[in-house]
Symmetry: C2
Subunit: 304 residues, 2 copies
């Protein structure tokens, strides 16, 4: 299985249009050792067909940046190797990219029934995906129940969370609470190779650690270094944990939690622009590396 | 008044993710004389504050690409020179960029009441613009009635059109039909310099030609070269005129219509990936130039 990291930043990307934090300021001034990043986006494949994990607001340029993801030579006038998209949450930075894919292209979108309802019943814009028959078809996915995409077996892992703020409390009460957020486990049938994708992780558990330890490659929530990172910057707002992201550092952080795992590839993804690990000369970056974690970056490719 | 062209393509951009037309194929193969283009986006200013005309799906990277549009040196940790956005239609490629601007930044959005209703009543995603007080405020604009943004006087010019397909007929009947699409005339109070912005032009009139002839700079709908351009490619679908775009060429095309105007800067914007004028070696490109029109391109700047 091939995995492309098309984007590796949290919502807003890095740098973020309205941010003048130390990271954003220095990278704009080219006084920063580290990379710019677009919003988190993975693509996976076992052959010619590709599937997207989530749909980033930067998706149009992310697809165009990769020669495997544009129409093939000799293909018909309108075509794409992108066969489907699997959604893991209704967050803007996970779903907005679907609207980049509005040009009459047949596609399958895999999502829980609750996400399907939010997008298609509560947001008329998504009707652009249904201007013709044979455009987008939605497939309902069930928690803990595997489904096949090409040669890959995908399992939606429920994660206790809540719906994004834009979903009203009244609306949320009509939806299935446990469908608000999933992680994904993807296994190649022939080789048994497995990857895990958890860009939002609001709680840690022994069960989850056991599951991740059986994977070959783990994409883990690397949004914030510390719990009060955004409050320090903005002087207001919510903590990392209140926003559904266990921070990397400190007691109960993900570095400690997964640091002792054996021989698996551990990578941080969905890294916020404020996170000091983006600075490759920082102590925080060094600590992450020393603990056996890597930072994902745009344009990166894995083969399992 | 300064005008930045941050994007100059029609919806989908150029190249378009799922398009293998001659233009898209050749530019990917680097066998094309012409430029890639992101989706249409203008920014205007008379000083330090900037205003956006519409909000492109590519807005995040468009803002980051221009040093005048990122937070200023020495500004507070979260800030932006972008003070507001003026919307001219509810099309996906005119409004999606608002969701790129979701990070708690104070902004004014100027739109007709009908557009305001479509976005905020029919699309729950837009609530991300209202997670805090003092985030986005909406100002209703009235057809033919000027309003001020900074030192500029903006006039919404009604254009007979219909709402995008994603707005149901039942919903459209509750809205004001004449508010579906506007063009903009922007005048600098001190100098009297005027620009016109009409990226969608479904009909031509003598009144409009008179109006444009009094402007210093005109951005005109350059979507399609000919009426059946997209039908030829896809083998199905609607004509340029049926999609609300008078083509450039032929009898009743915009080239003939505005070609005889005097000393004003005439530019085509919102150019579709299929349009032969994108190819700088094409006859069509030569004909546009000979008639006194220029193609806008990303990164272009005008000063009036």
């Amino acid at each position: 299985v091939r995995v492309k990291v098309l984007g590796s930043a949290a919502g807003g990307g890095f740098p973020q249009w309205n941010c003048a934090c130390s990271n954003c300021t220095r990278i704009r001034q080219k006084k920063f050792r580290g990379r710019a990043r677009t919003q988190t986006q993975l693509a996976i494949s076992t052959g010619k067909d590709w599937f997207l994990l989530d749909a980033s607001p930067d998706l149009r340029l992310q697809l165009e940046s990769d020669r495997d993801l544009v129409p093939r030579r000799g293909s018909s006038k309108r075509s794409s190797p992108i066969m489907g998209v699997i959604l893991t949450s209704a967050d803007v930075d996970r779903v907005l990219g679907l609207l980049h894919l509005r040009e009459f292209q047949p596609l399958t979108v895999y999502a829980t029934e609750s996400l399907h309802r939010i997008l298609t019943e509560d947001n008329s814009l998504f009707r652009v995906l249904h201007r013709e028959t044979n455009q987008v078809s939605w497939k309902s996915i069930t928690l803990d129940k595997s489904f096949k995409i090409g040669e890959l077996r995908c399992t939606p892992i429920p994660i206790k969370s809540s719906y994004p703020d834009y979903v009203s409390a009244a609306r949320a009460s009509e939806l299935v609470a446990s469908e608000a957020l999933i992680g994904l486990e993807v296994e190649e049938a022939s080789s048994g190779k497995k990857l895990a994708y958890f860009p939002s992780l609001p709680a840690l558990s022994d069960d989850l650690r056991t599951r991740l330890s059986a994977c070959d490659l783990v994409f883990l929530d690397g949004t914030f270094w510390q719990d009060d990172e955004l409050i320090r910057l903005r002087g207001t707002g919510r903590s990392a944990r209140e926003m559904g992201h266990i921070p990397i550092s400190g007691e109960g952080g993900t570095l400690e939690w997964l640091g002792a795992l054996g021989d698996i590839k551990r990578t941080y993804i969905h890294i916020n622009n404020t996170n000091p690990i983006l600075d490759e000369e920082s102590d925080e970056h060094a600590r992450v590396s020393a603990a056996g974690f890597a930072l994902t970056h745009d344009g990166q490719e894995f083969e399992l």
